[in-house]
């Protein structure tokens, strides 16, 4: 079987199986590669929709992790399709209000919350990709239109706050043992996303600083940036303590004090 004729539904079903483990990377990857091969994500989302996600908290949580990954790494059409399906996504958050048997209820609620906010951000601000990888032209847009840039930074910071809150919730729910791998695996996309956002905010603030030179107007933004810097620093420090994470991804190292507005290298 070539990678082009993939049995989408079976792959999705395997990605969100009942076992309390991380969603298998090979299945998630197959979904991501599928969206690039076909330049469309409709089949993937349809396959998620027919899964019996309401029957099991763990498979629902795994589905959310997989969806997040697909939004991040998939073809840009994944984000478009995600925006189209946000009502369905919202309905997923209502399945286990406030708890549920194995303690995934809150996590699911918060995850859905975050994904909706992410999609809303992408709907308003075009030109960002799923992982917020740094692209030069975006900061150019910012400097040519400071008002829009200011707004984008504020929205990015709101998103960053939501992720931070969600990250804390995951950490507070982790217990030792192999079974928590499922929860920990949700941190993988979060780390890459927060770092992407962090770098974006930093370069945007610097670009604004260079362009306008009005430090008074930027002061509240910069203060909030510093605050988020310290929280992110702590989050990464916590992540570095988990062996499963450090072996799988490279956890970025932030300087212990927040960077200044003066643009230096990197």
């Amino acid at each position: 079987m070539s990678r082009f004729d993939l049995d989408v539904e079976r792959t999705v079903r395997k990605a969100c199986s009942y076992e309390e483990t991380a969603p298998k990377r090979k299945h998630v990857r197959a979904c991501i590669v599928y969206t690039w091969d076909h330049k469309s994500s409709r089949a993937i989302f349809n396959a998620f929709k027919v899964q019996p996600l309401a029957q099991d908290e763990i498979s629902l949580f795994k589905a959310l992790i997989s969806l997040h990954k697909i939004l991040q790494e998939g073809h840009p059409s994944a984000i478009v399709e995600g925006i189209r399906n946000r009502e369905w996504l919202e309905s997923l958050g209502r399945i286990y209000p406030g708890g549920g048997g194995s303690g995934y209820g809150h996590l699911i609620e918060e995850y859905v919350n975050f994904l909706l906010q992410k999609l809303k951000f992408h709907r308003v601000h075009h030109g960002f990709n799923g992982t917020f990888e740094y692209e030069e032209y975006m900061s150019l847009v910012t400097t040519s239109n400071p008002d829009e840039g200011y707004e984008a930074i504020l929205d990015l910071m709101d998103l960053q706050d939501t992720i931070d809150k969600f990250g804390r919730l995951i950490f507070s729910s982790i217990s030792s043992g192999r079974r928590s791998e499922c929860k920990i695996s949700a941190l993988v996309p979060l780390v890459s996303e927060t770092y992407g956002i962090y770098k974006f905010i930093m370069s945007m603030i610097r670009a604004l600083h260079n362009q306008t030179g009005e430090d008074d107007a930027l002061k509240p933004l910069y203060d909030r940036f510093c605050e988020e810097h310290y929280r992110l620093f702590e989050l990464y420090a916590d992540c570095s303590a988990i062996k499963y994470l450090t072996s799988l991804i490279k956890i970025p190292k932030l300087p212990s004090s927040a960077p200044t507005l003066e643009a230096s290298e990197g």
Binding site: K26, W36, H75, V188, S247, L248
Partner: protein, 155 residues
């Protein structure tokens, strides 16, 4: 030894071309990596249009192989890395076009029967190759450097 015999039989049965046989040899499941001579030969053949597609087709298959065959994936990354640096001018656009295949390998996991994660090597290679492909300046430099050090290639 029998494994390589089986591979030779498969080469004949499936009717692979000589280029494809070379590539299968280079990305086999043996524990030692492909030799430089082999890599050079493949890079040389990538200048030919027909064998270029044969090489890339087979690489594509190997890169998307199962976790059990993690050696296929790891060695394919080695070959692709070599091609990007020393292969024909077609190799870089191909790799960029298919960057998502490499990018998504950055989180490759495979646990063998002993529960040891063998994916580390694939993750590291995929990460390095992605970084190289995204850095046009470095890529240009690498390629021109290699060209100077080698005998002029036939076209």
């Amino acid at each position: 030894m029998s494994k390589s015999l089986i591979r030779k039989a498969k080469n004949v049965v499936n009717g692979y071309s000589s280029t494809q046989v070379l590539l299968r040899e280079a990305t086999s499941n043996d524990s030692d990596g492909p030799s430089v001579e082999l890599l050079d030969e493949i890079a040389e053949r990538s200048w030919d249009n027909v064998s270029f597609f044969e090489v890339m087709d087979m690489l594509d298959k190997r890169l998307n192989d199962k976790g059990k065959n993690w050696r296929h994936v790891a060695k394919s990354l080695t070959v692709l890395d070599y091609l990007v640096r020393c292969g024909s001018d077609h190799c870089v656009p191909w790799a960029k076009e298919n960057l998502y295949i490499i990018k998504t390998l950055r989180e490759f996991i495979h646990e063998d029967e002993m529960g040891v994660d063998q994916g580390q090597i694939v993750r590291v290679k995929a990460r390095e190759l992605t970084a190289l492909l995204l850095d046009d300046e470095r890529l240009q430099e690498e390629r021109s450097l290699r060209r100077q050090n080698r005998r002029p290639r036939r076209r």
